[in-house]
Symmetry: C2
DNA sequence: TGCTTCCATCGGCGTCGGCGATACTGCCCG
DNA sequence: CGGGCAGTATCGCCGACGCCGATGGAAGCA
């Protein structure tokens, strides 16, 4: 009987489902099934009754749930207590991010971490690098963690968990004339584009979209600042694909969602597989925890 | 932070030493060192101050010790509680033993198990088989556990822990004439021996002793019962190597300890490496636990 | 009956915990 | 004061276990 088994068991009991319990703990369903199975086998009795598509706690499960909460809670408590002894986890955690973190409320989470763990120094390095450069920097230790679009290629020793979505939407001035139907790339070929410099991840994605459609477009202006790009759009100098997040709540700009896979990416939190320092683990947990409320 | 780490930590703290803590938990000292090291690393602070040959708890260690006791205790409690739900671990555990278990108080332990775990049925199969036959029977599942002399050869997937000692001593009638010095095999060549049938483990060991010494002896009587052998010895029909345990407290027989490796074996508790049923694990723990008080 | 949803199982793989051997370091004693 | 000694840390190796991804099978729903 190990603490992690108890944590898993509690998750399943709370969620009333192996599948949802697994999601909550960010592990595979089969992992959950096996873990609870091992626990049941070790204790020599069932913890859940499997009734068709429903599960319910057995008497033994109910007792264990109550006690397990206390045990796991006590473990968390002593951990916090020890953390507070030397001012909590300390050290500096370096987080690499793409310029926009999409639906992920990065500022909120970082603020919460600062408040709860004053000992942890946070270095956030926001850069327009493509995701693979971020992965390199994780591998070589420059970054402890990175918030990046989901890579197509998996890299050994680096794991990533989804924490939000990264959508590009088409932003334009309010009076831009557009056909009253689903937009295709070809419809945009004649309009001047405002976009980011070559090499930026977002630029690459938009280029990819048009390349796949076989349409040439006119990038009239290149700017290295998303906010500036939006200002230019508002001024009517052109249209631009920008992170959806930046356009939310702005009524001085018209936005159109283009449904294309190239534009809709998942934001993931990447890290080295192996165990990191307490500070890194703390930040990682905090970022992941917030993700649960997002997805 | 896992329960087992806490158990290890408590053992080290209680014993005031990594080495003794490791002995208490029946693991290697290096294992202890690494386990506590991992715990310290995860918590981000030292739990022990290493002062030369002494260790003492740090402040953090003191706090953790207190809490860890509660946590581990709670885990044990809920386990017992769940056990009692269905009458405790149940099923039948089959224990193979050699005829004499030497210093190991087998009857006491089995009695205690019966009392504390009424649901466990115990089958004890005492046989004169050599240890390797016992190992075979463990491998094929006939025996769950076996108390046997320490095998010279290690068998894959079977592990063994020492639980006592198995000494053969030389038993003779009170009036047997003997030289007043350290006995050697040659001194015994002229005396008639009472011994067990060929194939019995104890017979093999004695044969081995004389073979190594290059001395031929005279086995006048072979009996298949240790008690009978002792009776014959008392009656003056010969001398015999018998398990020390059988001679303790008897004043009608003279015993001489021969210091030879072949005669002094360690009694081990053998089992399959992999996890067994709760009943088997319970019995195993009980047997091991008593060992600690013996060694 | 076909489809979906959920849990269990299986094979493969990586990591971790275990052991044994060895290095290192104070301690004690001759 | 130097060498053995006792205790801990480290290293290499290996087996086992946990995790994942894919598949199977059963229950619910239309």
């Amino acid at each position: 009987m190990e603490l992690q088994q108890l944590v898993y068991f509690i998750a399943v009991a709370d969620e009333g489902s192996f599948t949802r319990g697994a999601q909550r703990e960010h592990v595979d369903q089969s992992t959950m099934s096996a873990a609870v199975g091992r626990l049941e086998h070790e204790l020599g009795q069932s913890l859940f009754r499997r009734i068709g598509h429903r599960i319910e706690l057995t008497a033994a499960g109910g007792i264990l749930l109550e006690r397990a909460r206390a045990i796991v809670g006590a473990a968390r408590d002593v951990r916090r207590e020890l953390d507070s002894l030397d001012g909590g986890p300390h050290g500096t955690v370096t987080l690499g991010t793409v310029l926009s973190t999409g639906t992920f409320p990065l500022a909120d989470v970082l603020g919460a971490i600062r408040r709860e763990h004053p000992g942890i120094g946070l270095r956030v390095q926001s850069s327009p690098l493509a995701f693979d450069r971020h992965l390199d920097r994780i591998a070589d230790g420059t970054f402890d963690l990175a918030l990046i679009p989901e890579p197509d290629t998996t890299v050994a020793s680096i794991s990533a968990s989804p924490v939000g979505t990264l959508d590009l939407v088409l932003a334009m001035a309010l009076d831009t004339p557009l056909p009253d139907r689903l937009l295709r790339c070809a419809d945009l070929a004649d309009l001047p584009f405002i976009d980011f410099p070559a090499g930026w991840a977002n630029r690459t994605r938009t280029d990819q979209l048009f390349a796949e459609a076989g349409v040439e477009r006119d990038v009239a202006i290149e700017v290295a600042d998303p906010a500036m790009a939006l200002d230019l759009v508002r001024g009517g100098l052109g249209i631009a694909f920008v992170p959806r997040r930046l356009t939310e709540g702005r009524h001085d700009i018209r936005t159109v969602v283009i449904d294309a896979p190239a534009l809709s990416r998942v934001l993931v939190l990447a890290r080295l597989d192996r165990k990191q320092s307490p500070a890194v683990e703390t930040v990682h947990q905090a970022l992941l925890g917030r993700a649960a409320t997002v997805n």
